[in-house]
Amino acid sequence: MLLELLQGGDSGGFLLIQDTANYCGRHLLKSFINAALQRDEDVHVFCFETSEEELKEGFQEVQRLHIHNAYEDPLGWTKKAVFTVLDFSLNDLTRVLKLTPHQKPPIVVIDSLSWVLRHVHTTTVCSTLHQLKKGGFVRAIIGLLHADMHQKGTVGSVRHLATSLITVTPSIMGDNCQAKITKRTKSGKVLQDEHTFSIKEDLTVMLLKSSNTAPQQTVQEEHEVDPTANLTFNLRLSDKEREAKEKLSLPFMFSKEKKKAILHSGANIGRILYEPDANDDFDQEDPDDDLDV
């Protein structure tokens, strides 16, 4: 599923990469950017945590990569900042995106959301992301979130918004890393997958081993013992005996039509069939009407 997400299937989604201090998710983020660039898509990166040079490292063609540098002056102290963290609102984001003309809706990458969440209230960030997602102006949003920097509720709220979530953790052996992916399709189905992968020098992802959901538990087959085996009398039937047995008509076995007539379906709840007989036919006026004299 990781490769499908890299190919960028559906639009209008919010992909969240969640990492911790043990393993940095920025490499995976860069491979997503690389995959998007190779598909000839415009990518706008709002970088708060790394410098522009460090981010541009490793990409071959940077023509469609637009970096909005909020690293040097994130809070706007020098009054000459290109983009500050307080500008993270729908109007300002669309204004900045509109500065460069593009044919198709661009992909917005935010590195990282944790920085924004520390300065802007969570509800504002969530509603901005939601409106950006729904607005149709942007093709997809990819964000990086450091889960150990926030309270559980904050992380949970941002995760709740995401259509696809990738949690990266270091794998047990070596340099590789493990990714747990949860994807919500438009029909409401939730798909999950787990991969072990490593990222090569040219920022492509190489899958090493992918396990599908949970390991199957092997059920031990019991050696079934046939109870009719080692007995002193015969419990089995030969074919002729079986035929004769089935032909035998038992006392209360009826034909199919009679069964259907007697057996009413469960839908008729309490249908009372009543034929009034002679005793019921008495006149209320005359109390002596039922005397048999």
Binding site: T123, S127, H160, L161, D226, G266, I269
Partner: protein, 408 residues
């Protein structure tokens, strides 16, 4: 009694039903007879179906008019959203009016996804559609040779149904046809369409909740849903669906922080909502993402402020998914609270170990059903995690496996 689907487009047509008896209960109550409602057998309260027949049975026959049902969402909001859609679809089928409020998805999108009702003029689904434990195909009359009188009876009574049905069945794989859905009158409230008025108010409620409450009040007054309103025209019920209240998209930081600043916003709103509903012919279903709320005391307060509260816990993504006990089910259902309206004791369900399963034609809620353990080698360790004791089912529902230790 289940009402077979009559044509929604022409309300004058009454379909003949095979399952109506000629006996009618004589009611001398002053309750208005509104289509889609029935009086409760316990206390005469007017009840409305939630759209899910198993849930109706759990709640004591249905949802009382004027009450609020709180659904604590599961982790990915799939099943709680499904129940909300069942509730709205039931409203369309019973020709009630709808009010849908959402901050995340547009109400039109939710209305487009309503499941389509299963319409047949013949009797409602036969009892044979209950889950069978054996893998036999549908029985024909030839199947039981000697005990054929018992053929139509269910094998194991594990689904919760009452003998008299109330409510309709829906097919989840198809969406409701556009004509039927548009025939129903629906009021919508989509939060991005109501920009925040920045006038500071002294109430602890947020602007989004105030706007929602005001909009609800307007609808109830204008359309004549108040109980005290003059009944010049025929009365109807307003079904209110509020999706994902308390999430950060409503502007509420209940889910984001451990000590939220707006701790009283949602509780004040629920108090106002319940007060509004008590004096009107309306029912509300509210879903809250309770798995995001860190403060359990707040969750308890929210549950206390609603009349009925249930919680859904889906197995997807948790370690319970691989537990062999739960392989037939999609999740667990916990009933947190059942109201006692106009009576001293409430009708709490007998069993606490309920699990749900979303099938194509039915959302069934069952007792967690353990088959008896005939083999010696199955470990009993996994039994300990089971919430509440579940007694073993009857043997006739099982495929018999050969027992090693047959003694003669």
């Amino acid at each position: 009694m289940a009402a077979p689907m009559s044509g929604v487009g022409n309300p004058g047509v009454k379909s003949s039903s095979f399952n109506s008896t000629s006996f009618q209960k004589k009611t001398r109550s002053k309750l208005p007879s509104i289509p889609g409602t029935r009086p409760s057998v316990q206390n005469g309260q007017l009840l409305v179906s939630t759209g899910v027949t198993s849930l109706d049975f759990l709640l004591g026959g249905g949802l009382a008019v004027g009450a609020v049902l709180l659904i604590e969402e599961d982790r990915y909001d799939s099943y709680s959203r499904m129940i909300l859609k069942y509730f709205l679809a039931e409203g369309v089928v019973c020709q009630h009016e709808l009010f849908l409020a959402s901050a995340q998805d547009s109400p039109d999108d939710i209305l487009k996804e309503l499941p389509s009702p299963i319409m047949d003029d013949v009797a409602m689904p036969k009892p044979m559609e209950q889950p069978r434990l054996s893998s036999d195909p549908q029985d024909s009359l030839e199947a039981m040779k000697i005990a054929w009188r018992y053929q139509n009876l269910p094998k194991v009574q594990s689904t919760l149904t009452s003998s008299s049905r109330f409510g309709h069945y829906y097919d989840v794989s198809k969406t409701m046809e556009a004509e039927i859905q548009q025939a129903a009158k629906c009021h919508r409230f989509y939060l991005p369409d109501h920009p925040n008025q920045t006038a500071p108010t002294h109430s602890p409620m947020l602007e989004s909740y105030s706007a929602l409450l005001k909009s609800l009040q307007e609808v109830i007054q204008k359309e004549g849903f108040e109980v005290a309103a003059s009944s010049s025209k025929s009365r109807n019920i307003l079904r209110i669906g509020l999706h994902s209240l308390g999430s950060s998209l409503w502007g509420d930081d209940l889910c984001c922080c451990d000590n939220p600043k707006h701790a009283h916003a949602l509780t004040t709103f629920l108090y106002g909502l319940r007060a509004l509903l008590r004096s009107s012919l309306a029912v509300a279903v509210v879903t809250v993402p309770s798995h995001l709320i860190q403060n359990r005391a707040l969750m308890g307060r929210i549950a206390k402020l609603c009349d009925t509260a249930i919680a859904l816990e889906s197995f997807k993504g948790s370690e319970r998914e691989t537990n062999p006990l739960y392989k037939d089910y999609h999740g667990l259902l916990h009933v947190r609270q059942v109201p006692h309206l106009n009576c001293l004791a409430s009708q709490f369900p007998d069993h606490k170990d309920l699990a749900f399963k979303l099938k194509r034609k039915q959302f069934s809620i069952e007792r967690l059903h353990l088959p008896p353990d005939l083999s010696e080698t199955v470990s009993r360790v996994s039994r300990v995690e089971l919430p509440g004791a579940a007694s073993a089912a009857s043997v006739c529902g099982l495929s018999t496996s050969a027992n090693k230790h047959l003694d003669f």
